[in-house]
């Protein structure tokens, strides 16, 4: 029985591989995104951005004459789901490249990427631990840049001297909170209390009541996704009148529309809601584009450029190693939001804006230019 089975599998494998080499079909890449769960709003943007890029690439003749096909997988903010998705992409779809998102899922799939020589590009996750990882490129700055900027701004310019923290109990939330403590402390601020909450929780009242009892001048929310709207609403319900602050993570439609989050102080990464891209996105998906739509559009375009280069170099074949070498040799990519230069740590730098959320829009007060 065993021999029959193994013979069958060998045959299936051979059949599969010969089919793959015989005719250069489309170039398949993966996209592991938060399509459901608390971060589904990011997923709409990320998937839309990648989709638009793929359509434009294919309309212009594809990559070296081959069509680009993006295979979307859902990680629902769960690292183990991301690992399953990555394994499927690597073993079944045999992709040379995948878009990825969120800190914990990206960190979880990075070893698989190295093992199988598949490049992963993250345009959303911002944990500092994402830097300096083989086969992982981040076309977004790590969060310490943003948290550093807002911690400074809150302590020095807004004169908010003490803070209480609500922290999502995951890689991204804890990492941002750690940086906040360091940078806010260095700027003369004092963190009075910190409460951790589950990212997928919906009732934060006990934790909020606890930080409320500690007083302070500021509530810093180190979390992301639509649950920030619930945290803000419940904080106001509990009579917390402190100013609240967060990073660009919080800028999803649910939060921007929520009553509780009105007036929240936040960073923002450069995004022009009146750009041609934003208009096209809105026409196509009937919803406003956001920063992350541009990010995944750009990441897909960066892949196309790198893949073109890799194919040129190899004379036809395309694999992850080739894509990686191409990214390393090109380094600076033209994107719709300006020139993106991958740093030695495999990350990007961007201008960071700070401002206040008012009537569903961020009123920018200050722009901190990226260090060249």
């Amino acid at each position: 029985m065993r021999t029959i089975l193994s013979a069958f599998f060998t045959f299936a494998l051979l059949a599969g591989s010969s089919a793959a080499t015989a005719q250069p079909g489309p170039i398949k890449i993966g996209a592991i995104l938060p399509l459901t769960g608390s971060g589904a709003s990011y997923g709409v943007w990320m998937k839309g951005g990648a989709e638009m890029a793929a359509e434009e690439i294919n309309a212009a003749g594809g990559i070296a004459g081959r069509k680009l096909e993006v295979i979307y997988e859902d990680h629902a903010a769960d690292a183990s789901k991301a690992v399953n998705a990555m394994r499927r992409l690597v073993e079944v779809e045999k992709v040379p490249f995948s878009l990825t998102s969120y800190s914990a899922p990206t960190l979880a799939i990075q070893p698989i990427a190295v093992q199988n020589k598949v490049v992963i590009m993250n345009g959303g996750g911002q944990s500092d631990n994402l830097a300096n990882k083989d086969y992982l490129y981040n076309n977004i700055p790590v969060v310490s840049n943003e948290v550093g900027v807002i911690a400074d701004w809150l302590a020095k310019e807004k004169k908010l001297a003490s803070a209480v923290l609500i922290v999502a109990n995951d890689e991204a939330g804890r990492n941002a909170a750690k940086t906040f403590r360091e940078r806010y402390g260095a700027a003369g601020g004092k963190v009075l209390a910190e409460e951790q909450v589950a990212l997928d929780a919906t009732d934060f009242r006990a934790q909020l009541a606890k930080v409320k009892a500690r007083g302070g001048d500021l509530l810093f929310i180190s979390s992301y996704g639509r649950n920030v709207a619930i945290i803000a609403d419940q904080a106001r319900e509990l009579g917390i009148t402190l100013p609240m602050a967060g990073t660009s993570w919080i800028l999803v439609p649910e939060v921007m529309k929520s009553k509780g989050a009105e007036g929240i102080l936040t960073t923002r990464l450069p995004f022009d809601p009146n750009s041609a891209f934003a208009k096209k996105f809105k026409d196509k998906y009937k919803t406003d584009a956001g920063f992350f739509a541009v990010q995944y559009y750009s990441a897909t375009m960066i892949f196309a450029k790198a893949a073109q280069e890799a194919i040129k170099k190899s004379g036809g074949a395309l694999n992850g190693e080739g894509v990686k070498n191409a990214i390393e040799s090109i380094r600076a990519f033209d994107t719709i939001s300006g020139k993106l230069v991958f740093q030695a740590n495999h990350g990007a730098v961007m201008d960071i804006e700070v401002g206040t959320l008012k009537g569903g829009k961020v009123e920018v007060e200050k722009i901190i230019k990226a260090a060249p």
Binding site: T36, G37, S38, A40, A76, N169, E195, Q196, V197, A198, T202, D203, R205, A206, Q207, A209, K210, K212, A213, R226, I230, R236, E237, L238, G239
Partner: protein, 294 residues
Amino acid sequence: MDLFLQLAATGLVVGSLYVLCALGWGLIYGTTLHFHVAHGAVFTLAAYFAYAGQKLLGLPLAVAVIGAIVAAAVSGMLIDLFIYQPLERRGAIRTTLFIASLGLLTLIENLLAIIFTPDPLRMDVGWLADAVQLGPVFLTRLHLVSMTTAILLFLALMVFLKHSRWGQAIRAVSSSPEMARTVGIDLRRVHLLTYAVGSAISAPAGILIAMDVGVEPYRGTTFVLLASVAVIMGGIGSIPGALLGALFLALLENLGVWKIPSEWQSTISFGVFLVFIVVRPRGFFGRKIQSAEI
């Protein structure tokens, strides 16, 4: 002190939802001895019925809520009629029923996730969401409604069981099914009635939490687990015991946060439950649980 009061108030609000879930589950378990974990699915269905009534059919909130409670009661009866009764007729043991119930819970939750997506859906509750300040304590109007609902339904259930003919039949079956059968009570009809009443009592908990923080497909599992813990802590077969057990759990979870970091919430409740089941297995005031009772 303000923090203590706020946490206690939040505990009572959460507790009132646990109470409703535990009353329904405890009534069903105490009467039929079915370890009806699919009660969690009925609780979740109620929330989706209310959501669909308001958002998809455009019914006024009150109509949607009442419709959802009726639909949940019918769902509970259908589960008994088409799943448990046929199994019992074929002589299935309680463990089989439990497995069937668990399967049904998973099936319904996943179907709901496919139909409505796993994302929380929010209902419009208008002025019910407004905050009210009572001294140092902040609650929303909806929270006051939750507490009132729990108290009223608890009292109504007590009166129903003590003073109505059907209630007395349920109590008779609960205390001795054999004896009840001997005096001519139709067990199947009493079971159906118990499912209707038990489901209708727990349905408002699902709906209220949906109105507060959103409708989600998988919340029922947590709630039915907590309800069973509350019922066992309170004493199986005791309605006031279920109330007390549920309030005790909710207060423990919320007041625990006072001195212990909040990520330990569920550890506290299940830790205390373990102590309970070892040290005082009959709960606050109930029958001793037997090893074979599920």
